[in-house]
């Protein structure tokens, strides 16, 4: 199974796929990202830099889903109360359900320090930090949530459930309780019930993404710790850690509940049996890594220009296809994510970036490219986990099984070789094969 590395299988003839070399690497149990020390350092450094803002993201996403809920003017939704900063992560610390990170369950210390002082290193009122964007930028997290919400047909049972009568009933109960003392909103709810239900579905998506990232945060932190201890020998090791993580957490429940006046209201109960892998991870990878949506100004939304596909299935604007160079241009939201990660880069990466391109001046782009590499590795882990879960071991003696594995890998990589809408040109899979892309 995935935890063991397999030597090259020579039973099949060489692949004729445009990315044959990468196919063969995947068949040897490797990652789409070449196994080099530089790559390993970059991706692990980025996992660490991503994990700490992510620690804020998941807490705030849950806070918005559970407490802010349908607040019509959620002006303070990014101001996380102490309660949620101290909320125990289920996968870190002594009382974890499954201890992935050997650290602690409450918010990361670097995060707390940053919330207090910000990049300005000044103890000024929170609001000033907020408006100066000297904070963890939740806008990016919400962009991901919206991508997951907007791209339908992502698989899993949650989506049909959100259209069921049962869901509407649960939502109705929560909405009535939430607006109990607010006749205006209740009146509006009477007039436009669907709008409120749709808002509730969005809150559910907040919860889904929050629960998804609650797992990824300790996974990345643990990877960073293992790397610091010298535990990873190469990129495939890092990928296999992720594969094992995916399996271990696959059954984690996905739910949505709202806390109103001291009482929990289940909107998506745990008892529905929704799981992390099927209802959160797969939709997340599809919606965020592959699809999302083009940023305004980068593509013409004019239907006649035919730059944006008319079929959502053909959307290809996720991190795997992203042009990182315009980061920091107006209207490119991942800039905020890059800004968030920039605050928590490990020193070895800061030193590393200083040596290339424009050093400190374009670090946001350099780390963006490393981030892209690291996400190609995560996607590789998802592909390998899928192969392990639904197909066959890499050393399976049955050639028919090996062919199935190959079709699977080639089918996955076809997504980066598709000439439709120039997806093959947009995909950065060939770029990341070289260390010169930075």
């Amino acid at each position: 199974m995935p935890s063991t590395l397999i030597e090259p299988t020579t039973k099949l003839p060489p692949s004729t796929h445009p990315f044959a070399e990468i196919i063969h690497r995947l068949e040897r149990g490797g990652s789409m990202l070449p196994d080099t020390e530089e790559n390993l350092m970059q991706i692990i450094g980025l996992y660490k830099a991503y994990a700490i803002p992510m620690d804020f993201y998941w807490r705030d996403l849950l806070y918005i889903a559970e407490r802010v809920f349908l607040d019509p003017v959620p002006a303070f939704k990014y101001f996380l109360p102490k309660e949620y900063l101290e909320l125990a992560n289920h996968y870190a610390g002594d009382n974890a359900d499954l201890r992935i990170w050997r650290g602690y369950a409450t918010a990361h210390k670097e995060l707390l320090e940053f919330i207090e002082k910000g990049e300005l290193k000044a103890r000024i009122p929170k609001l000033f930090h907020h408006f100066y964007h000297d904070r963890i930028n939740m806008e990016f997290a919400e962009e991901c949530m919206r991508a997951m919400f907007w791209h339908r047909n992502m698989g899993g049972l949650l989506e049909p459930y959100m259209d069921s009568a049962e869901y509407k009933q649960n939502a109705d109960r929560a909405i009535r309780a939430y607006f109990r003392d607010n006749p205006i909103m209740l009146g509006l709810y009477k007039l436009f019930p669907d709008m409120f239900i749709e808002q509730c579905r969005q809150a559910t998506m907040y919860s889904v993404l929050g629960l998804f990232w609650e797992v990824m945060c300790p996974v990345f932190l643990e990877m960073s710790d293992i790397y610091d201890e010298g535990g990873f020998k190469g990129v495939p090791d890092a990928m296999n850690f992720l594969v094992n993580g995916i399996f271990a957490i696959a059954g984690r429940p996905i739910y949505h509940r709202v806390y109103i006046r001291g009482e929990w209201y289940d909107i998506v109960p745990k008892s529905k049996g929704f799981t992390w892998l099927y209802e959160a991870a797969f939709p997340y990878v599809e919606a965020v890594f592959y699809r999302t949506s083009p940023f305004r100004g980068t593509k013409s939304y004019n239907a006649q220009a035919r730059e944006v596909p008319d079929d959502q299935n053909d959307f290809h604007y996720g991190i795997l296809y992203a042009d990182k160079f315009p980061v920091a241009s107006a209207g490119i939201p991942p800039t905020l994510l890059h800004q968030d990660m920039y605050h928590f880069l490990p020193q070895y990466l800061v030193d590393y970036y200083q040596k290339f391109c424009r050093g400190a001046d374009d670090m946001l782009i350099q780390l963006g490219v490393s981030f892209q590499r690291s996400m190609y590795n995560v996607t590789s882990a998802v592909i390998q986990a899928g192969r392990a879960a639904f197909l066959y071991p890499l050393d399976d003696p049955n050639p028919r099984h090996l062919w199935a594995n190959r079709y699977y890998f080639e089918g996955q990589l076809n997504r980066f070789a598709n000439p439709k809408y120039g997806m093959n040109k947009a995909a950065r899979i060939l770029a990341i094969q070289s260390q010169d892309y930075r």
Partner: protein
């Protein structure tokens, strides 16, 4: 005072040539700063009330042949002197592009500066020609030494064209001196101005001079040296070349053609105006066709110099002020554009319009340089709020009543200017950076400084044009008052028939 403006750079050049490269730079910076300071003093002491020459100096040199060391400054030469001082200062203080033989470079730039100042100041036609020819040698050298691939070809072409230009002008001056009804040949400007010559003689001599200066400016069809020379020259050199040297042609047009042959000029001016209008159109249309941004800017120069010809043809006080303003504005804008294009070429390694893309990118591109390029392009296209608009507007306003058709052609040309600048900006500044190739080194703030200085002036003079035109108003009045009125021109026309 005026002599200092000529001899100080020569002295500086002499000292610099004996120093080490490092000290030569310091000497060059000190000299050019001192020169700039002197020009500020000159501006302060300049009397706006008179159109006559001021600070005149007169030393007999070779009185036998009429060559006297006569200097003077008026509202026509003053703005050009200041422009010359400013651009020389910018080039010497901030240029870091010249790495090879820097000492020689500083010396030559100072000598060019001296030659240009001398030409602008000379009030003796022979003395003018002397300076006019002298600065050719250092110019040839700076093009040939620090140019790009085809520098020798370009430098030689430049030398041949300008030498021919010099010969034509010499022929004109000598002819003028001999035709003059005086016991000895006359080269003194003031004396020449008071002569009255037969119109036919005036026309012949005028055409000689116009041809000579048209090569220098240059006007179509004498422009073929310009694209090669501008494109092959190093950035600081082309800033001086396009910014000031070319202005000698238009200066000569104003000073000697309009100034010395008023009747002939009036007679031929409708043709000159038409020539200018066509030149503007030609420059714009050829610029649109270019695929190389430096060449594009070079061609833009051909059109823009023709505005000065249009202004000269009209000879109304307003158009003359506009013409002088256009020389300065064009000098500033062209220097800015060449400076920015030079930065882009140096960092990206290409000037190809089809290769350049997305330079406005905030982290990996050159946002400031691109922004300034947009501003420079707008200024060149005559967008209000910048000095280009002021100059062009004055020219059009001054010439429309006299030559409506050529003025309309010129206005059309201005519209086309916007076309090629939009092409240039759209291709270079907008779009995406190529992920494979776009790892350009960053632009240091010291490299941006000259562009900032020029931009500040372009915007400031665009908002406060008084500071630009006030110097030349009285002089323009005086030049245009010396021209015969329309009635007399018609009379001459009749006589000719």
């Amino acid at each position: 005072m005026l002599s200092t403006l000529i001899w100080l750079p020569i002295g500086g050049a002499t000292i610099a040539s004996f120093c080490s490269a490092k000290w030569a730079r310091i000497v060059a910076i000190l000299t050019s700063s001192a020169i700039l300071f002197l020009h500020v003093l000159l501006l302060r002491q300049f009397n706006l009330g008179t159109g006559e020459f001021q600070f005149s100096e007169n030393l007999p040199w070779l009185p036998n042949i009429g060559l006297n060391y006569t200097l003077g400054v008026d509202g026509l030469s003053l703005p050009l002197l200041v422009l010359n001082a400013l651009l020389t200062w910018l080039v010497l203080c901030f240029d870091r592009e010249v790495k090879e033989r820097p000492r020689l470079f500083y010396v030559l730039i100072l000598l060019i500066h001296a030659g240009l100042s001398g030409a602008f100041l000379a009030l003796n036609t022979l003395l003018f020609l002397l300076f006019y020819e002298i600065e050719l040698i250092p110019l040839y050298l700076v093009i040939a030494i620090w140019g790009s691939k085809q520098k020798n070809y370009a430098a030689t072409k430049f030398l041949i064209f300008t030498a021919v230009s010099g010969i034509l002008i010499l022929a004109g001056f000598l002819g003028l001196a001999w035709v003059a009804p005086a016991p000895k040949p006359v080269f003194d400007y003031q004396s020449l101005r008071s002569l009255s010559l037969p119109v036919t003689a005036q026309i012949v001599l005028l055409l000689l001079l116009v041809a000579g200066f048209a090569i220098k400016a240059p006007f179509v069809p004498f422009h073929t040296w310009l694209p090669d020379t501008y494109v092959e020259s190093a950035t600081p050199v082309v800033m001086i070349l396009g910014g000031v040297v070319a202005k000698m042609g238009t200066y000569g047009l104003f000073r000697f053609c309009v100034g010395l042959f008023p009747e002939a000029w009036s007679l031929l001016s409708p043709w000159f105006a038409l020539w200018a209008g066509l030149g503007i159109l030609y420059g714009a249309v050829t610029a649109i066709a270019q695929k190389d941004i430096k060449r594009m800017v070079a061609y833009s120069s051909i059109g823009h110099m023709s505005y000065v010809l249009l202004a000269a043809a009209a000879v109304t006080p307003l158009s003359l002020v506009g013409g002088i303003a256009q020389m300065v504005s064009h000098g500033l804008i062209l220097a800015l554009l060449f400076n920015l294009v030079g930065i882009i070429e140096k960092k990206v390694g290409t000037r190809e319009l089809d290769v350049l893309n997305g330079l406005l990118n905030p982290l990996r591109g050159f946002p400031t340089v691109s922004a300034l390029l947009i501003l420079g392009g707008m200024a060149s296209a005559g967008i209000p709020g910048m000095v280009g608009f002021i100059a062009e507007f004055l020219v059009f306003q001054g010439s429309f009543s006299k030559f409506p058709l050529p003025t309309l052609l010129a206005i059309l040309g201005t519209g086309l200017t916007a076309v090629y600048f939009v092409i240039l900006l759209n291709r270079t500044c907008f779009g995406k950076l190529d992920n494979k190739t776009a790892y350009y080194p960053k632009v240091l703030s010291s490299e941006k400084l000259p562009a900032f200085v020029l931009t500040t002036l372009i915007v400031f003079l665009g908002i406060q044009p008084h500071w630009l035109v006030t110097w030349s108003e009285t002089t323009a009045q005086k030049i245009s008052s010396r021209l015969p009125s329309n009635a007399i021109v018609q009379l001459i026309n009749l006589q000719q028939q």
